[in-house]
Symmetry: C2
Subunit: 495 residues, 2 copies
């Protein structure tokens, strides 16, 4: 799907008539629970201290709902009363954290009541010895990480939206991001959750132990459930010691086979200090060069580039390891050229060749974006196959006659997570017809994932079955029905 | 509970009459499915190629059941037929891997049919680039790790029983072990599973991707479910590059506060190369010294000892880091003395002071053993409190009048996992009365876990509610009822 600024109105989805419409009586009940200051009403009555529209639209202004009520509970007891009342009265709800998702998961589709977690934003505890943090769901990721940085620890998750996303939303969407290669997924790092179920039950599973083998690990169901079975109100999470040394190298390579070889070598030689291995194809780097006018980091031009980051506890040791790795991969011609950043300015400069891609892609128009996971040996094939397909259809070329500018690929090589991007001059049904279901079918044939880290929300719901077989779909629906039998939680989305 | 060789017969548990008794017709059906070679029958008929008793008892010979039938399916389709038939005919089953558990989870309580996974023992695939291994449930852990070692990778789990335990059993029991501090838990490392449900449904969720955000992460329910909702037939798992350098240090410290300080310092300074931080109290070390006659590693005697292991990719760097750490903690008097092993013989010698504890504890008689997780600041308090309690009751002392020899503590400090051990001269009801429910209540008050890594099985089932509240118990039972409505899977155990 395209990510240009289009307000989606979901013509194909109809409001489910089983859900009640908001009345003044409902509103009065909710005001009694959270107080007038924590209810933004712009519907049956108008009593809004702030504009309700910012809660109806996502940050990209791509998705737009029509809620008449936003509630901001300040504790789990208030949330419990809210959800119980909604469940008893068939009022649909959408939980909302920082509203920084990419798939329309955190805004209403129709008139669902928005339950915004921003007022539950306290750090509850941090154990300096074990590194275990307990915090409310509404704590902003960057605030949590800054709090930890002052205590020489690191939040095991980092992503572009860290200044606005909330850790409850991160856990609810199983966010991936930049530190996954090093610290692993939230399924490993989250030790406990506190959540409220649709019937108002408060689930206290806020375990602060690394090991606890006393029954089914139910918190795991909430990690990545996108608010469809309950609302997370707090999390406890394992945090590592913060690395004192960071180094970055940037390489040019002649083929994707060599990229794989470089990754394998980095895993072996850099091992415990490897913290990022990012892939950028030559087309993305030339585009960054063209749009920004910056001089490319290496002299020649190569079909593939990699950015390798190390993080460790000893600057000299890490630099020595990275230098040895660099010499090895150059001597054995795994890479053709490379450069090593040895100060913070240079490190940021090299990272800008990876992080700047998203912005420059939209330079000529809209971008079709796919967030895919594919077994690593075939990771880049989807880019070539998609380019061939669009080229054969006469859709790619220079000049205004062609809707498609190019087909490019980049992403988290270490996580086998490819961002397939198709920058265009204009959106065109002919292009969409070539892309879908082609891309999804291609991924399905390789047992890949049609959503590696962005989740499902409203946009990927129709395509889940490309990554989950019929049995898994049935088992997932069982869980949804078990926890949310009336279906009030974040409807029209997910599975 | 005590771990001496007592064959438990569970007088308090009654066979559930809802389960059918095995008939010749049943046996004939199963023989038709798996073939005569894969069915050991010693009941309604006798057709056993090997003694059935080894499948009825665990390796400690502590637990004993009375099955008349052991089935060894060779593939998931056979297993599917077996379970569907059992479910349709109300025949209870117990899944069995390497039978190396400590809580009686893998042997029948009465006449449940044993389903042994040992014939499903193939490595299915290994991707050298991503480090992802796919293997049958019945592969022995050591075989998997040796296979990976030849390919410069490491299985992210290691434990004493590695020569007999199976990876399916490891995942089903969420085994902890020696590498958890470094590589994290199986909830983070297992990427996918294949399993058969009680109704015969084959669940194929054998994902080989590090990232896949397309729905509820149902495989997590099977990790640690101890075969109560289905039987795992294969797993895919993320494996790290194998470390080339290993170093070990051994310290003496004056208090548990200093142990915590040492751990915090190790986390900060050794950071990415820290692979074990083990705690041993002075009493355990004197016991090892007394029973083995070996000279203690340090000159003086200290109330606490720690073993610190590092694993990394560069021997010189790691030795330098560990040496710097050692100098720092000695200069600042966090530790009072220490020694550093610089060759494999010395490393093994130092490890023997930790690994030798279990054996020497049983030197004078039986041992009451508890596997607890407690917030790290209070981790050792349970040892002192238990010793005080038994001392006040006049049960601890030198000489044959006293049943209790001592109360000691050791364990995985880095995982906040303490093994509380009470070596005795004889088992004594008076001692048991002082210990239980005292220990469980003590742990409950601190939100600890009454089973950190050993699981529940039959022995911990009565005590789950000390670590899980009423809501969690209810939610866990919901899951059990959802997946196994007839209750045929590993009955009388778990929750």
């Amino acid at each position: 799907m395209a990510t240009s600024a289009r307000l989606l109105s979901y013509p194909e989805i109809k409001r489910d008539p089983k859900f009640a419409k908001l009345t003044e009586e409902h509103v009065n009940y909710f005001k009694g629970v959270v107080g007038s200051d924590s209810a933004i009403i712009d519907g049956v009555t108008k009593d809004a201290s702030e504009d309700i529209e910012s809660y109806n639209s996502d940050w990209m202004r791509k998705f737009r709902g029509h809620t008449q009520l936003v509630l901001k509970p300040t504790n789990k007891e208030e949330l419990s009363k809210i959800l119980k009342y909604c469940n008893d009265n068939m009022l649909a709800v959408v939980p909302q954290g920082g509203n920084s998702g990419l798939v329309g998961g955190s805004v209403p589709v129709f008139d669902e009541i928005v339950i915004n977690l921003q007022k539950m934003n306290k750090i509850r505890s941090f154990d300096q010895v074990s590194g275990i943090l307990v915090a409310d769901a509404g704590v902003i990721l960057e605030n949590a990480d800054n709090y930890l940085a002052e205590r020489n620890h690191i939040f095991p998750l980092d992503l572009g939206a860290k200044g606005s996303c909330q850790i409850g939303g991160n856990v609810a969407t199983n966010a991936g991001g930049l530190r996954l290669l090093r610290y692993g997924s939230l399924h490993g790092n989250v030790l406990g959750i506190e959540a409220v179920l649709p019937d108002g039950t408060i689930v206290n599973d806020l375990c602060t132990l690394r090991k606890n083998n006393t029954g089914y690990d139910l918190k795991q169901l909430f990690i990545g459930a996108e608010g469809t079975i309950g609302i997370i109100t707090a999390v406890s999470i394992q945090c590592a010691a913060r690395s004192q040394a960071v180094n970055v190298a940037y390489f040019g390579l002649e083929s994707f086979e060599k990229v794989q070889e470089a990754y394998r070598t980095a895993k072996g030689q850099l091992a415990e200090i490897l913290s990022a291995f990012e892939l950028m194809d030559g087309r993305t780097q030339k585009l960054v060069n063209k749009v920004t006018g910056k001089k490319m980091p290496l002299e020649g031009e190569y079909p593939f580039y990699c950015l390798v980051e190390t993080s460790g506890s000893n600057t000299d040791h890490d630099a020595e390891k990275l230098q040895a790795f660099l010499e090895h991969v150059m001597e054995t011609e795994i890479v053709l050229d490379g450069t090593l950043a040895d100060n913070q300015t240079q490190i940021q400069e090299l990272w800008s060749w990876r992080e700047g891609i998203t912005e420059v892609l939209g330079h000529e128009g809209g971008v079709y974006k796919y967030d895919l996971s594919i077994p690593i040996s075939e990771l880049y094939d989807i880019v070539n196959d998609t380019r061939d397909r669009l080229t054969e259809a006469g859709l790619v070329g220079d000049g205004p006659d062609y809707p498609v500018v190019d087909v490019v690929g980049y992403g988290h090589m270490g996580d086998a997570n490819l961002h397939l991007n198709i920058p265009t001059r204009r959106f065109d049904k002919a292009v969409e017809k070539q892309l879908e279901p082609f891309v999804y079918e291609w991924v399905q044939k390789r047992n890949g994932s049609i959503s590696a880290e962005h989740g499902l929300g409203v946009t990927k719901k129709p395509y889940v079955s490309y990554s989950k077989n019929e049995t898994m779909m049935k088992l997932m629906k069982q869980i949804k029905d078990l926890y949310d039998p009336k279906g009030i939680m974040n409807p029209y989305k997910y599975i």
